[in-house]
């Protein structure tokens, strides 16, 4: 049973039926799903949710889907109390939402799960996307599970590791020669021409809703309450806005108390259209040419950037940007303190969080959730020259002790003194 009643233009408010469309025919504004919250309120409760599956589908009533879903078990990922990282940053209540452990190793599984389900409901034969990494993997994986064809468009110069991560699921992979803008324009035109479900084009209103589950889960895992601060990596801005929307929906449905969460955008300095607009006090997102190692956030003209700015201001939040070396340091700090190996977007979040604490925007006693959205194995090239190298020894103890002798001796001495 679906609780969606239609689509609505975010700009002019014009109503549309539930169809695979994404822009208003009149003003070309983007469309958003409309729900019957009165009916949802009658059906949903904390107890019902808690008794649901250990996946994002425990919140199915709040997603724009009806019957059977395409399920690779996305979501309900751990919320980790980060004592060590909190100490390092000066935070007493820091939590990490670890979305690295989704089935295809990023939060994209949440949005693609909804998109693939919708594509099947709309009776599309194929799902498609244009991607440089995480989205490609998730689309190919969900298509495999759904028994659907998939078409994944990638730039021809994409790293081999990222191609393999999607190729294993058996999609039709198309490598497009050309720069980002050319690939972008081609795929937009293909979406108009071919009868495929392009997850973030003609299915976008539904696709984007999957990100709300990152808000629901955090609220539930915190014992049915919203955090004081949410620190989020921003590319298109959709994830950021949907976390805000999800928290407010939970409040409106009586599942949590008032939402006083302050929403913080984190971006790389080399691609920071939203953070830059916020810091300059502007409502205008100026498109940029991305130049950063945080490739998963490298969207120079974000579709939801304007709305992300609104969310920052509405929530009383803020923004932070970090350089590439700071991003690598953030990845290392997260791994070395909490044992979580995140991709570069995770480094952006940790480096940004550090700045926000240093500047006083986030205080030490506040309950802060940092969203870690993708696995570090996806961006090995970013840290290959920044981590410890193996110590080479011969296969004998003398060689080992010659390499580490001082440390061993020191350890023995300390143990001895402890015994005495």
């Amino acid at each position: 049973m679906s609780f969606t009643t239609g689509l609505r233009c975010r700009e002019c408010g014009r109503a549309y039926p539930i169809e695979p469309i994404y822009v208003c025919e009149v003003c070309f504004g983007s469309l958003e799903v409309v729900y019957d919250y009165v009916a949802i309120k009658r059906h949903i409760s904390r107890e019902k949710i808690a008794a649901g599956p250990n996946s994002m589908w425990r919140y199915k009533e709040l997603l724009p889907v009806g019957g059977d879903v395409v399920d690779i078990n996305a979501g309900f990922t751990p919320l980790v109390k980060a004592e060590n990282l909190g100490r390092a940053l000066g935070l007493k209540q820091l939590y990490l939402k670890n979305d690295c452990v989704n089935p295809s190793y990023s939060f994209k599984d949440r949005v693609v799960a909804v998109a693939a389900t919708k594509a099947r409901e709309f009776k599309f034969e194929a799902i498609a996307c244009a991607s440089t990494g995480n989205l490609a993997c998730s689309v190919a994986a969900h298509a495999a599970r759904a028994g659907m064809k998939s078409y994944v468009f990638i730039p021809s110069d994409l790293e081999q590791g990222k191609i393999l991560g999607a190729a294993i699921y058996g999609p039709t992979l198309i490598a497009v020669e050309g720069n980002y803008d050319q690939v972008n324009r081609l795929c937009s035109e293909l979406a108009e021409k071919y009868p495929w479900a392009f997850v973030n084009i003609n299915i976008r209103p539904f696709y984007a809703e999957g990100s709300k589950t990152l808000a629901y889960e955090v609220a539930e895992q915190l014992g049915w309450r919203a955090p004081d601060n949410a620190v989020v990596p921003v590319a298109s801005g959709s994830l950021f806005n949907k976390i805000w929307k999800g928290l407010n929906e939970f409040h409106d449905l009586g599942l949590i108390g008032p939402v006083k969460t302050r929403m913080f955008v984190t971006q790389a300095t080399g691609c920071s259209p939203v953070a830059t607009a916020y810091e300059s006090g502007s409502n205008i997102i100026r498109p940029v040419k991305p130049q950063t190692i945080a490739k998963s956030l490298a969207i120079g003209n974000p579709a939801d950037g304007y709305y992300a700015l609104k969310t920052i201001r509405e929530s009383g939040g803020g923004a932070a940007m970090s350089t590439d070396p700071e991003i690598v340091d953030g990845m290392k700090l997260l791994a070395e303190t909490e044992g979580i190996f995140a991709e570069t977007a995770g480094g952006v979040v940790i480096a940004g969080l550090k700045r926000l604490v240093t500047s006083g925007a986030i205080k030490e006693d506040e309950l802060t959730v940092a969203y870690i959205t993708g696995n570090g194995l996806k961006t090995l090239e970013a840290i290959q020259n920044s981590v410890v190298k193996p110590i080479l020894i011969k296969p004998d103890i003398n060689s080992f002790e010659a390499a580490l002798g001082f440390k061993i001796a020191a350890t023995v001495e300390r143990n001895k003194s402890q015994v005495e």
Partner: protein, 80 residues
């Protein structure tokens, strides 16, 4: 006749130039503006172009060479 929905983002130096008028005149493309936000130092326009496919392509290429950023109305859809 083909149709194309696009977003133009203008740099400050082009704000005072009649770029869209010239686009329509030079390339026989009918332009239909749906939404816009233009001030003295920057601006964007969302519009539909209607004409022969090759004229639209030539027109877009000309606009880009003028220094205007041209995006699909969905903006950047190649995601990480």
């Amino acid at each position: 006749m083909a149709r194309r929905r696009v977003m133009f983002t203008f740099p400050p130096e082009l704000i005072t130039e009649p770029v869209i008028f010239n686009l329509g005149k030079q390339f026989k493309v009918v332009t239909n503006i749906r939404r816009a936000d233009v001030t003295e130092d920057r601006g964007w326009v969302v519009l539909e172009m209607e004409g022969r496919d090759e004229d639209i392509e030539r027109g877009i290429t000309w606009v880009i060479t003028k220094g205007v950023r041209v995006d699909p109305i969905g903006k950047d859809i190649v995601e990480g």
